[in-house]
Symmetry: C6
């Protein structure tokens, strides 16, 4: 198996939900979602094989955006919404 590299399997890179900015928090949300997928399916060839269909189907893109929104909700709360 062509396995996802170890760093792609870490569930929470940096092991914290605290980020300096909303932009970084949002990037973390994307990473969390992606690494969950890596852990459920760690075979890179399978992941890449599905990507052409996935990433060109608007409904799939919206479904991915939904997951990111849920992750971001958690991260934003963790950071008290980066309120000034």
């Amino acid at each position: 198996m062509n396995r996802v590299p170890d760093e792609g399997l870490v569930l929470v890179p940096g092991n914290t939900l605290i980020t300096a900015t909303p932009e970084e928090g949002r990037a973390l949300a994307l990473t969390l979602a992606r690494h969950t997928v890596h852990n459920v399916q760690p075979d890179l060839d399978v992941l890449k094989g599905g990507r052409p269909n996935y990433s060109t189907d608007p409904d799939s893109l919206v479904a991915a955006a939904h997951v990111v929104a849920v992750e971001f909700r958690t991260i934003a709360a963790a950071n008290n919404y980066w309120r000034p």
Copy 2:
């Protein structure tokens, strides 16, 4: 590749969740959702190619509205619901 312009790839434009009004907060929710999609699929031609099917399918529109609702939940909390 006909890439989404850089400003469409910024995850949190303005780098804050704080907005002056609910209307602006709602607009930010739409932007957050859209920019997630841009980051997952940054090829404008692919995005435009899918739009005719997507935007005329009521179920796809409802799915998009669902993501916006989740993003707005976060933004509204960040702004203490713009309570007077």
Copy 3:
């Protein structure tokens, strides 16, 4: 294009999440969801064209009800649940 009238494109009519009653809050939740759809697809003819299939498919109706539930969660929190 037969465009949705301007008032249907306002994202948060009244520009507030505060309502006098739960009933009004619920009505706002429906409006928010509907206006998101209008913003993603502002062509009235397309919207009306999809409605016959959409509104007669129970799964689509449940999906719409799901979005309303999420919007209402936000509005109810904004109003401290209209507790007496």
Copy 4:
């Protein structure tokens, strides 16, 4: 059109989220979800026409249960979870 009776179109029957017990709160969650559907599709014949397929499809039942869960989350919070 064979219209849903007026009481089925009230969005929040009783116009309050406060209930005496979790059981009543749960019943309200089901009612809220159902009345949203009535408002989106107020034609009883259409609603009844879809029910045979809907209510025998496990995935549709799970989708309905999902909406109820989200509504209940709001109602439970409104009632401070009916903590003793």
Copy 5:
């Protein structure tokens, strides 16, 4: 009709969200989801008829797990997360 027994139609068995442990809270989450389904479709034969397809389709299982996750969120909050 071969009706679900009365105890399977109670929406919140025990009429409380408070449980002694996370394990019991999780079991309650499963029960709440299941009893919602019973209330929407109280015919045992229909429910059993759908089960073979449902319970062998991974996507259906994930959809069910999603509902349980949402119910558990409410129950966990009700119990202050069983913090020591």
Copy 6:
């Protein structure tokens, strides 16, 4: 029936939502989701039979990631987001 081993049927392994780190909290989120599935479908052969389709379908992987995101939200709140 080739039954999932008993430890795979425990709903909340360790019977607590408290973890030392975000990484452990995330692992618990994955476990909670997986064990829900085990409880709904405890036949290992059925579970393994569905896995090839499931784990190679990007939409299924995103749906699984969605459930994990919801579980994590609860766990993160339980741990006060592991704030320093």
